[in-house]
Symmetry: C2
Subunit: 459 residues, 2 copies
């Protein structure tokens, strides 16, 4: 007889995964290699180690090892906030009157407020183990900067965070949280780097951009002794670290004999989506399941649904290695959208390949629809979701209502990546009905596509 | 053999208490009755039902029933966010180098961010069950207003929240959270009530006070059909609802054969402290344990440590029934302190009686020491605590360091009442080293004591 499913499914502490799952090892058609931007040949470990920690580079390039051990010193940190709960959305199911079962993996129970801490802790752990003394990074919406600040406070590393200037002004409390954890926060562009000074010389009043903040963070890390740069999404090793999300979710569901029919995640750079779906996608690739996977992105930054599959740069200054991915072009400027964590022109290469090969679906949602879903969810389930996560909520509600129409009792799993406590200005805008939607025109997209490099691989 | 104690001790869903524990039933010397302010005789149910829900009044007056059932429709709501975790502070123990075992009950994992939701849900449930359609309340720091807004959204009740004007201006995001959950938020004093208009006529620029907001909320509830007033602390039925905290903590500790030697809670009106200690205090009263209980209050509002044990009003306008409690006088104006939830002149009557009779110790802490402890805790344990909760953290660290000095392996339990996500302006002030401490002079206290009513019972 099936066990009664509680509202909150917690694994025991000893059930926290001891290994990360490397989805690429099970992919028949691998994602394409990273290219060195000068030689246009696959980047080597040596190329990448100038910027990233060695172990992260090793993981970035490894597409064959299936399980990669989580070091004990990192497992210890994970025990401070994991396992994260998997929640059965009984209240939402009832409110919608759907025959579907809805589950969500809640990654926002830690102080940084999102899943980002899973990779921040890993990257800080390796930096410490490799004898580094400081790290640099950038942050836009602020979740990644908060996560890195917490991880560096724990492992005893100095951290410099370049925060997009307009965000640091709009989100003074995010800034305060990052500073409370001891990080040195610099609004970007700044006078601390050549790239920052160059941008300020051209436009002294600019509010900055993620691309500019990345350039400043990389420049500072390269110039600083025993320092490296860390990134919170897009790259393969970040997705690897996030596989802990999907593994915990699958372990909790398996205890009750539940297999998801549909898995939904919001998609910015892809770290949450990739981590959530990883083990389930492995099953699908091996023909063991027919689960559908749905990526939900903002209509204002639609890299999957309207982007091109091409080699492109990760930053607007075009200094990073080239990734083959769905991209709007590194020159694409997304309109203001409160889901700052999803405002990125590209998409992780693994997810891009899976989408290209038909394993993954994608759709986009406009901001006001997303906040309709967010507020509905908050009142019914009692959790105030992050704007990013609310993209997945919107799609989960739509799928559950489709089940109501058809009478199908499907199992839906979605990723609640984080909480909205530091996004109240967005909720204020929604409550005041001053929130708008903004969808790029075809001409806007063409301007972005023009920035994709014309290299032989893109012909 | 003792089981290994995990970092997070979760009860199973079916272990959430089905009854509240009424500590008064086990007290040999009961706390004194509430007095009608006109007759100076014990208030009757009829007196109180003009303002409060019937079931809450019944609970308020009941000092004999030991276990009071939690209705199923409320248990359902509790399952949305409970059981709350009990956390073993392994990281803090290690950082302090103490032989003590430290545990904390984390009540801040719900969106309202504190334990207040436990009583908010109960009061909203009863209001709905009794056929009411709306409720009024006041909020200062905002945790109670947020909790009531969530509870009323769930049970389908209209809610009007009078928020102290200076707080609603200082905490726009708290205001936004309350409004997102659908409550009507009115900065107090306002033009919507006679008491508000009277105060504004005297001082048009006043920032308001909790006492004034209470007066406005009560006035509106009395004038509104099918409406009652709800309060988030001080009263006995609120402590009853909060007994779920202590019961869960004791159940989780018992699984591992652990008995606390010291239990520490922050003390404002007393709802968290009373709820946390209730079942453990019952054991002590019956001679079954020698646990020490420590209340920690802000030095700026020291009702236990410098107050008087007397009958006093609950509000500054002197309209409420009289409670026998430790009080600084309803006319005492506490200096600005970031732990807004602890800025109350009085203390729950049950706790006051226990303190008077020597069952409970009390101490005070100055604000900067409290924030030293808060930031230390945040970096070590990874949770950003509310300023209120940080009073308990401060005392727990002090007791653990005393164990280090003496070599005693004591078991310390404290209440982490909530998170500090909506208190970042306080952390900013601390980080900028602009935070001050403010301790009332004896003359300040004398001015407050002068407002305590001169009635025969106070001679």
């Amino acid at each position: 007889m099936a066990k009664k499913i509680p509202t909150r499914l917690y694994l025991d502490e000893e059930e926290i995964p001891k290994n990360w799952y490397n989805l690429r090892s099970d992919m028949v058609n691998k994602s394409d290699p990273i290219l060195h931007p000068g030689t246009l040949k696959p980047a080597t470990a040596t190329d990448l180690e100038a910027v990233f920690c060695k172990e992260c580079v090793k993981q970035e390039l490894d597409d064959t090892t299936r399980l990669i051990p989580i070091p004990e010193g990192l497992q210890e940190f994970y025990r401070a906030y994991r396992p994260a709960p998997l929640i059965r959305a009984y209240f939402l199911e009832k409110a919608l009157g759907t025959p579907a079962e809805i589950y969500y993996k809640h990654e926002g129970t830690n102080t940084s407020g999102s899943h980002k801490l899973n990779s921040a802790a890993a990257q800080a752990f390796y930096a410490k183990a490799e004898g580094l003394t400081s790290l640099t990074t950038e942050t836009g919406a602020g979740q990644w900067g908060s996560a890195m600040a917490m991880a560096c406070a724990y492992y005893g590393l100095d951290l410099t965070v370049y925060m997009v200037k307009v965000s640091s002004g709009q989100k003074p409390y995010r800034k305060a949280l990052i500073e409370t954890y001891g990080a040195n926060l610099i609004p970007s562009p700044s006078n601390t780097t050549e790239s920052g000074r160059a941008i300020l010389a051209r436009d002294p009043t600019t509010g900055g951009s993620l691309g500019c903040a990345i350039s400043e963070a990389i420049e500072t890390s390269v110039k600083t002794d025993k320092c490296r740069y860390v990134l919170g999404s897009v790259l393969n090793h970040v997705l690897l670290h996030q596989s802990i999300i999907g593994q915990e979710a699958r372990a909790a569901l398996e205890k009750y004999g539940v297999t998801p029919d549909i898995i939904i995640g919001c998609a910015g750079g892809g770290s949450n989506l990739g981590g959530l779906i990883a083990p389930f996608m492995g099953d699908k690739i091996k023909g063991k399941s027919k689960t559908r996977f749905i990526a939900v992105e903002p209509a204002s930054c639609p890299s999957f649904t309207r982007g091109r599959y091409a080699y492109d740069f990760g930053d607007t200054a075009k200094t990073t290695p080239l990734l083959r991915m769905y991209t709007l072009g590194s020159g694409f400027i997304p309109s203001a959208n409160h889901a700052g964590g999803l405002r990125y022109h590209g998409m992780n290469p693994i997810l891009s390949k899976l989408y290209k090969d038909g394993y993954l679906e994608a759709r986009s949602a406009v901001q006001t629809d997303v906040f309709d879903a967010a507020v509905r969810f908050a009142k019914i389930e009692g959790i105030l979701p992050a704007p990013e996560s609310s993209h997945a909520i919107k799609a989960a509600i739509d799928e559950a209502l489709e089940c109501k129409r058809t009478g199908e009792k499907k199992v839906i799993l979605f990723g609640l990546t984080g909480t909205g406590y530091f996004d109240m200005s967005a909720y204020m805008s929604y409550n005041a009905k001053t929130m708008g939607d903004s969808i790029p025109t075809d001409a806007d997209l063409e301007r972005g596509f023009a920035s994709i490099p014309e290299i032989p691989q893109n012909k």
